[in-house]
């Protein structure tokens, strides 16, 4: 696949029309998109909640199909609760780890809220290095300098504008609940300010509020405050590149303050949570890091029509790099995540929000050998948990895809699961392709090098 950079350089060598206005880079990237992308406006504009599990989550919560062999060959034993021959084991019907969220996964799959792809497997550049893998997965490409998935999406949406109104009128289309993230990296793209991510606090804090300076304005007045802002903006506008991010932050401050005050505070969000007719009570997210963040994300996606991409991942979401003491930490963390996702799905259903897709994945999977610190070192094959979005055409839910086998030497550390020879598998960049496809790109592989995930019935569903 030709990279964006290679394409630009090739165009440069063959010469350009003389009439191209500046900036050349932006125009040529648009040209690249126009020339290479086959776009068709989707019937429904989706929304993506992008949950990235930094550190690389073990797949075992969602895949115990090989556990007997894994345990037999591991340097250290797994607990008897994961012994298939134990009549009281914690292995569910579809080979999930019950207490590690597996029981919840069974329910989510039965309700067709969730599909699991068990074979997101690197063949290209399997470095097992955090930095490299995180970056590649968040930019949806082997090229580390590629723009992030969200920035590429922003450029596509700016170009094709499926919204039915001017891009400039959009309110918070791209939101981060985790601060800076490579998923928003610009690379060599130029994205209008309105399409740049704004960061909100998942706990509804409003640091955008400015305390009143009574020396500047009297009560009920704000004019001098605004004059100070305008003066500062005019001075700093002389250095638009150097101070770009801070200029943007100041420019958005008042808008964000107002947005949080009026629509994104704990009172309004909690008041808007639907009543579940099965219980007669408002749905309740778990009071946990996962619960708070997913409540924020889903509420925002439902409540703000213009929000199309929310990024939700940080070490605060659990830090999945379980090199030691994994059996103590991982199951409860996975269970907490699944419990929050379950409420999120119910929330979406009760609000008829069938266009919100939640993707959950990480840097890579992990070893399946329990090392001498009782943890799992870096691996490869991982699960993609994808939830919601049941209104998006072609998106099949309740699917369990992929078959794995154990590979590696017995009693050695490097033992992994790997797709069987006949199994469906995909590179992690297929997740980015799938996102682009949902938004109307018919050939997303030109952007990522990988086709979108095959969600058709051609791919066997292992679900029992």
């Amino acid at each position: 696949m030709i990279t964006r950079r290679q394409f630009l350089k090739s165009v440069g060598f063959t010469g350009l029309a003389l009439s191209l206005p500046l900036p050349f880079a932006k125009q040529e990237l648009h040209a690249a998109l126009l020339d290479n992308i086959d776009y068709k406006k989707p019937p429904t504009i989706p929304k993506i909640i992008h949950v990235f599990l930094y550190g690389g989550p073990s797949e075992l919560a969602g895949n115990l199909t090989n556990i007997a062999e894994i345990d037999a060959n591991s340097q250290n034993f797994y607990p008897s609760s994961l012994d298939p021959d134990n009549p009281d084991n914690d292995i569910t019907k579809n080979k999930f780890w019950g207490q590690a969220g597996g029981d919840i996964m069974e329910a989510l799959m039965a309700d067709k809220y969730l599909s699991i792809y068990r074979t997101v497997n690197r063949i290209k550049d399997d470095s097992k290095a955090h930095g490299r893998s995180v970056t590649q997965n968040l930019v949806g490409n082997l090229d580390l300098l590629n723009p992030g998935i969200a920035s590429t999406l922003a450029a596509i949406l700016e170009l094709y504008n499926p919204f039915g109104k001017s891009i400039e009128e959009l309110v918070l289309p791209f939101v981060s609940l985790e601060g800076e993230s490579r998923v928003f990296a610009l690379g060599d793209l130029s994205v209008p300010q309105v399409m740049r991510p704004m960061t909100l606090d998942a706990n509804f804090k409003n640091p955008y509020e400015r305390s009143k300076n009574w020396y500047v304005d009297g009560s009920d007045e704000d004019e001098n405050n605004n004059r100070l802002d305008r003066l500062a903006q005019s001075i700093s506008a002389r250095y638009p590149t150097k101070y770009a991010k801070i200029i943007e932050a100041f420019a958005k401050r008042a808008e964000l303050e107002a947005f949080i005050d009026s629509r994104f505070n704990s009172d309004t969000v909690d008041a808007d949570l639907p009543v579940d007719p099965l219980t007669g009570q408002q749905i309740q997210y778990p009071s946990s890091n996962f619960g708070n963040r997913l409540k924020s994300a889903v509420s925002l996606a439902i409540g703000n029509p213009d929000t199309v991409f929310i990024s939700l991942g940080s070490s605060g979401l659990g830090g999945w790099d379980d090199h030691s003491d994994a059996l103590e930490d991982y199951p409860s963390r996975m269970n907490g995540l699944m419990a929050a996702l379950q409420v999120a799905c119910r929330h979406m259903e009760l609000k008829n929000a069938d266009n919100i897709v939640i993707h959950v994945f990480g840097d890579f999977g992990r070893n399946v050998n329990l090392n001498n610190s009782m943890g799992w070192d870096h691996g490869n094959n991982q699960n993609l948990y994808t939830l919601g979005g049941w209104g998006i055409p072609g998106r099949a839910m309740g699917k369990l895809v992929g078959r794995t086998r154990r590979i590696g030497q017995s009693k050695q550390n490097r033992q992994f699961t790997s797709p069987t020879s006949g199994s469906y598998q995909c590179e992690p960049f297929a997740i980015a392709s799938t996102i682009f496809k949902y938004f109307g790109v018919q050939n997303p592989q030109v952007l990522t090098g990988e086709p979108a995930i095959n969600e058709s019935t051609n791919v066997p569903n292992e679900w029992i």
């Binding site: 630009l8 800076e180 706990n203």
Partner: protein, 511 residues
């Protein structure tokens, strides 16, 4: 012919633009718009007397404060001019102030106990989190000295990927901070080599609490300290460390070594390695160690330069073979390239503590506790909320200062509401911090008074359009120059304005 020549010119121009996309590089002066193209050759020499003498008084002040800011200190107008009233100001000491700073950093205080006693008396700390809170108090109270430099270097290093205590991890503890910080401070102070300091860190329990298995630890040591990203070498290295492990939570996350050592010689990193000590020794003695450590620090201080430029700078510094961190840091922060050319966002400590030392600020009793507060429910503009928490992250503080809207809002809030608009109103109350009235009691009046505030904080004169608008606002509020006793009112307007200028949060190139 003409059209084809024009076409060729367009192609060349386009190619140049595309080739430079994403690059950063050396600053081109204080008024540059950050077009930081990689310098063909960075000037890593020290500033000379001639360089100093060629600067204007304003630039001398700016340069002194840039160096001071890097060291979390500041030079007030009172320090710099014999009369802070700018209409009559003459530089107090016209010798090279940068050289003066370097000299101070080489002179010992003869012990820091008196300062530590004063810190313990003046400030309150959390009993458990004190190791995280204490170093900034040391940096605030200690004067520039050899010991100060040791503390500052230890603070810089403990916040990098090299030595982070990573207290965000369950396996890591606040006491780990104390162990790491003291070890760095002590070994830097006794001029131990970089290699020895790295070795001692690698074999420590604190290191294993961060990287917790043989594969994890050996991989990260090779990546972090050598820039060696080779997955194929990881199983070999982990074989050498096979008898090292971390116990679980119930056993206190302790480093445990058993007798099942590797006995088979392994070829790794160009040497024969048998056990884990061999592995760490190999890393510590490797020719790539100094370049990798240097690059880590260059990436921080020269952030904004292109990767190629930073690599070039790091290579040149590493080629001089700095044996100690003292030598290494000095080569970086006292180079002409850094002092005169670097433009980058300031870390919170660089911005905040530079200003506090310029405006007669008083730290309240809880300040060092509050600024390091890690409670996510709070709206207090702590380092944690700015995503610049000290000693917390597994991979150290981010090299790029978080300037997303949320993180920056906290940063701005701290500067505006906890510093520039925070006046100490009760001189007898240790819980009341802020700038003290002496800061604004100067003999300048009228436009000179506004100019004094700009010079005091920004090291530049107010621009004409700033003077016009600020004066107009003052008059509209009834605080015009003809109103006596309204200096503080006028100051609060100007200080609020200054807090909204992006330049306040940036290291600037010096013209």
């Amino acid at each position: 012919m003409k059209k084809s020549l024009i076409g060729l010119a367009v192609v060349i121009i386009f190619w140049a633009l595309v080739s430079s996309c994403g690059g950063g590089g050396g600053g081109s002066g204080g008024d540059s718009d950050g077009n930081n193209q990689a310098p063909s050759s960075a000037n890593l020499d020290q500033l000379t007397e001639e360089d100093w003498n060629a600067l204007s008084d304003e630039d001398k002040l700016a340069l002194t404060n840039k160096a001071s800011s890097t060291l979390f200190k500041g030079a007030s107008l009172q320090d710099f001019f014999d009369d802070p009233a700018l209409t009559r100001a003459v530089i107090r000491d016209d010798t090279n102030q940068i050289a003066g700073i370097e000299q101070k950093l080489a002179q010992s205080l003869g012990g820091i106990d008196p300062y530590l006693e004063e810190i313990d008396e003046k400030y309150s700390f959390d009993s458990r989190k004190k190791p995280m809170q204490y170093p900034l108090a040391m940096l605030y109270e200690l004067p520039l000295s050899r010991e100060y430099y040791d503390v500052w270097m230890a603070y810089q290093l403990i916040n990098t990927i090299l030595f982070s205590p990573a207290v965000e991890l369950e396996s890591c503890d606040y006491l780990d901070i104390q162990s790491i910080f003291y070890r760095l401070f002590h070994m830097i102070g006794t001029d131990d080599s970089i290699r020895d300091i790295v070795y001692e860190h690698m074999i420590s329990q604190e290191n294993w609490r961060r990287f917790r298995s043989p594969e994890d630890n050996t991989r990260e040591m090779m990546e972090i300290f050598l820039g060696h990203f080779s997955d194929a070498d990881v199983p070999i290295a982990s074989q050498a460390c096979k008898n090292w492990s971390l116990t679980d939570e119930s056993d206190g996350y302790r480093l445990f070594t058993d007798f099942d050592e590797n006995a088979e010689p392994l070829q790794l990193l160009g040497r024969s390695v048998v056990d884990c000590y061999d592995f760490y020794d190999t890393v510590a003695e490797h020719k790539k160690l100094i370049p990798a450590v240097t690059k880590t620090l260059v990436d921080i201080f020269f952030h904004g330069y292109s990767d190629a430029a930073r690599q070039q700078i790091a290579n040149r510094i590493a080629a001089s073979n700095p044996r100690t961190f003292r030598k290494l840091f000095s080569k970086i922060i006292f180079s002409k390239e850094y002092l005169l050319k670097v433009e980058r966002p300031k870390r919170f400590e660089e911005a905040f503590f530079n200003i506090v030392h310029r405006i007669n600020w008083f730290a309240n009793r809880n300040f060092f506790k509050d600024i390091n507060h890690a409670y996510s429910g709070s709206s207090y503009p702590s380092l944690y909320n700015m995503k610049q928490a000290a000693m917390t992250y597994k991979l150290g503080k981010p090299v790029a200062i978080p300037l997303d809207t949320l993180s920056f809002s906290y940063y701005h809030k701290a500067i505006r509401e906890r510093l520039l608009l925070d006046r100490k109103s009760n001189p007898d109350n240790d819980y009341d911090g802020g700038w003290q009235v002496e800061f604004i009691e100067v003999d300048d009046d009228g436009d000179d008074y506004i100019d004094y505030l700009f010079m005091a904080i920004l090291s530049r004169h107010a621009k004409p359009e700033e003077l016009v608008e600020l004066v107009q606002i003052m008059e509209d509020r009834g605080y015009g120059y003809n109103r006596k006793g309204k200096e503080m009112h006028r100051a609060m307007i100007v200080l609020d304005y200054i807090s909204r200028l992006p330049e306040l949060y940036f290291m600037q190139a010096i013209n």
